[in-house]
Symmetry: D2
Subunit: 358 residues, 4 copies
């Protein structure tokens, strides 16, 4: 077994910088040897700050570097297909941030190339590396709550992302962008999803209508084993970042999540109060680090990926089914979701739909 993995990071946006900084400073058995970002100066500036020896604008040049064993793909989702396929053909081990794609056809093409290239691919779903979500998984496995029968999972943002990003053609829309985390959590605790039913609408930010996304949704789930669940999504948790899950079993229940950032209560005439986790980085900083550490360990030790491409596709299919349900106002069987063979985005985004607009 080798003791250290040489990595390159492709894409130095918000999440890319998180992974790159972790690999540069906090993953002992990783060596970050190159970074690439197509915006001029970004990679150089990052490389100088963190003492990385190589910086590039063209990710393909990074892939040509034989010293690079593995890459973290943290580019915009729309470019995942191209970068992952090139990395796979280049023989690199690959970490790819969620979502794999917003197109099922694209995602399946990517997995085919990864398979035929026989490279290692691990997908990013950081909640699986959070102490709370891990703890709940362990308790379930220990039988503490008996058989799980009901899952509740929520994702709530404190504000709206940029409108350009909300556009379903870019992000897939609220249900795919945020809900895909909850669908992954649902699969982790309960198993495969059979049918979904979604309602939602533009309820807090009227400007969203211009791009065709929604800001709130509630999605019912029925699993293949007949258990049930619900996912709640919102962009107006204006007080802070609100990520929680409940698993209800025949012998007990589990609740995952927390709100308070600083371990301090303030008690004044205005009441008892505390601050709140502001956003995902503060909430999941440790999980992001653990996730990229886990990728490095898995590659070095020849272990299988903790989250596979098939996991990513499964969550994607649920996202597409739920988005379809929202637009068509009917329950949708996840097996209905087929890859469009022309590779086009298979969700009906851009139609400005709202299940509650009638």
């Amino acid at each position: 077994m080798r003791s250290r993995l040489n990595l390159g990071v492709i894409g130095l946006g918000r999440m890319g910088r998180v992974y790159a900084a972790a690999l540069a400073q906090r993953v002992p058995n990783a060596q970050l040897v190159a970074v690439a970002d197509l915006k001029p100066g970004i990679a150089e500036s990052f490389a100088r700050e963190f003492g990385i020896r190589k910086w590039l604008e063209n990710y393909q040049d990074l892939l040509k570097d034989r010293s690079v064993d593995a890459v973290a793909v943290v580019t915009p989702t729309s470019t995942h297909r191209e970068v992952v396929i090139d990395a796979a053909r280049g023989g690199k081990a690959i970490f790819c941030e969620k979502p794999i794609s917003i197109s099922l056809a694209e995602a399946e093409e990517m997995l085919q190339v990864v398979d035929s290239s026989r490279v290692f691919l691990q997908m990013g779903f950081q909640r699986r590396f959070d102490a709370g979500y891990i703890g709940a998984k362990k308790k379930i496995e220990e039988g503490v709550i008996g058989e799980p029968v009901l899952l509740l999972s929520t994702s709530r943002d404190p504000f709206l992302p940029p409108l350009d990003f909300c556009n379903p053609r870019v992000s897939g829309g609220l249900i795919m962008d945020m809900g895909i985390h909850d669908f992954d959590v649902a699969r982790m605790y309960m198993g495969e999803v059979r049918t979904v039913h979604a309602v939602g609408g533009v309820l807090a930010y009227p400007e969203l209508k211009s791009v065709g996304d929604i800001d709130n949704a509630v999605i019912n789930l029925v699993f293949e084993n007949a258990t049930i669940g619900a996912v709640h999504l919102s962009r107006n948790a204006v007080f802070g970042y609100d990520i929680r899950a409940e698993v209800w079993g025949t012998k007990g229940s589990l609740q995952v999540g927390y709100h308070r950032q600083t371990p301090m209560l303030v008690l004044t005439r205005q009441g008892i109060t505390h601050d709140v986790v502001p956003h995902f980085m503060e909430r999941f900083e440790g999980a992001y680090l653990a996730q990229i550490q886990n990728f490095v360990d898995n590659v070095l030790q020849g272990r299988p990926p903790s989250i596979t491409g098939a996991d990513a596709v499964a969550a994607l299919r649920i996202s597409i089914a739920a988005t379809t349900s929202l637009h068509e106002k009917r329950p949708v069987d996840v097996r209905e979701v087929e890859a469009a063979h022309d590779g086009s985005v298979s969700i009906p985004g851009g139609r400005g739909g709202s299940a509650s607009s009638t």
Copy 2:
């Protein structure tokens, strides 16, 4: 204005005894003058214990008592129609425990008689008298959370009621028996419900299949004003009684509910723990008292009922729509729900349905 109301209580089951004891001992401007229960000895025994001067087996004899100004109807739901109609024709002010009926046709008939008899009718939904639910209503009215856009409401029982009661022909089934509280809460905070979609099944107590009820359900709501909601129901909150609500607005959120019964934490090697509210009486004791006090006050002061027959019918229609959705596996528009003119039970109970049984 008269200073004291003479009341009779009809039905001395679990809830009947609660209201009767409150009227006998804790509602200062009420005088409990008669109690009736058709089981021999029940009324007499209660009357002797609480010093009530009159006890009867036949409620019609109680209605004939001219000193009785008002009655609390706390009989099994299946008898509400007969007792309420008789009480209305007898000119009594009426408090009727939820649900008004499990049949929409029956409920509408009752309201017609109440209307034509010009008697006062107030329905029971005790959550409206709980400090937490009241507090949230006030905060919403004060604008603290901006416009409400998303409602979550949950009812979870620590164990299964007797199978006889679970039978949908008796109780209406899980969605009607428990969910009707959540639907009333939903209307209080958000307005009228337009469409519902329910999933659920027999997931924790296989014996339920024999009577055709379910033990877990998740129900999506779309309100007429396009906002959305979700209701979660369960019979396997085995740790205790779990009643909560969340209202999400454009400027903030509210969470109602609590778990701990005794204000004491126990910290040992097994962790930090506390006890839990065991069941509805411990959780809502104060609300039940406030509710019957409010009924007495309203009658004495000539105020309109706090919860009308129309409120009861509205919640009932949502319950029927959600039960229909569960069985027919499709979203149901609440306006679809029509009274069956023969007065038969209008929900498809007894068919043992489960949306997740495929």
Copy 3:
């Protein structure tokens, strides 16, 4: 055993009205037959509101009423001696609100008369009837925390009482007025106190200096069994009423108390907040009712008092020792505290002392 106790309430100040209203409306086996208050009109007005048949200005007239079996003495502390002694000589069963007196000599005289009159006397310390404090006592007795070794008890008021009341010649001062509850709690959980050491001062309300009281204190306790404790007192819990206790044992710990009044969280951009128990009545309403109910039950059933005169004297001695420690800036052995034979107030109030004023 008689089934109902006829009571009179002497003193209709804030606490007197609480007990009288409870006896009139919420203690089923009590009949409140007379109320007395020396301020003209007070007793009559209360009696008319609650339907009490007899009202008096002179408590001695109430004591002469042979139909009165028992009295609740809720007059100002300075009059307890006179009223309790007269009631004892009148052969009434007596409930006396805390503190029994601020003078040890007076208290001992009272107990002698009670003893020689062979009447029933039960003292008021309502925390002993609170579900949290009771729960902790039970857990200790069950051995859940092993041997108790450390006690923390706190009393904190949200604002200053009237200056006249704060005057140590009236109330005994902060340590006696509030701390006596904590000393009673300490005895309940740990046993007898051997030595105390107090520090404190006028830290929040400078106007207190004019009457010679303090607003904050910390008091160390050493028990006769060598275990230890601490009491914290404050008048500036400006956010609300803060009453808590912790018992630390060899196998675990217990924490009693809570802050939130309404079971509702408010989540806005200003943080997550909730309201707070405003003052003692909201916190201990149930305990006050349970306490007076317990008194009635004990008298009717011939049981011994739940809290004896000796308990009251023991807590008083600790209060006096702690006040002495504050002024003399040294640990004080509780056994030092002797009754002054002239019956004068035995604490050095009015000297305006503060252990931290050097």
Copy 4:
């Protein structure tokens, strides 16, 4: 300004390894160039694991290395004097873990040499780098609670350290070993301490009597500005690690601390429960990292130390005064504490004292 600091770590016990690992992997502007531990093999093994180029048994050899700019002294307290003085004379910037010494004479000698050598010395008190303690300091400075008037600070360990360490001649005993953190917190929030009074005893672990230490203590504080405080110390928080503080002000209060390790609740028939922070490393991992990072930053940027030698001596004097109070059963003025000129341990450890043993 230089961009990177070359450091050596002296002492690779539990805390030494924490700081050394942080410097090796997680402090970007630090380069750990050498480690020393007098136990054969320890330094080499650590250096090989973390890729450190130099390892030594004799710390003086490390001090001779001119490439070493700064050292972290994490040796047993009894050796601090020798190592710090040698490091100062060697011209190194020094980080020294708490306590500086258990002897005031030693501590003052160390500071004199540091002063005359004009080297940088920063002491370790990691609570000052914890988000909760920092947050409270900020709120106080913002005036959120008005003037602070009452401080409560607690340190509670889940189990007893090794008996050898408990020996007051080694650790200074409970009050110095644990309480010194609370005394430092007290100074941070309230100012200088004038008098202390301590009670305590061997209440949970009888074996402690053999070495002369105690396992529980309560210590009253009076500050120079007349405000007051209390410190609670215990070795029998058997459920976990319990570190909390409360600051009470004229306009509000602050509570710092938390118990739960994993953000997950478990709800079963046994109640609602969660796990607990097991010990100091889990609680303060982030604070230890922030503290050593702060030391590196201060040295590189020429800023004054965040915690000075004078801070360390002030907390030590309070510890000695409180220990003296425990043994002499009287309040002790901190100004009484004088350095013993022969450098001997100035606390009366080994006499097995307990204020509650009479």
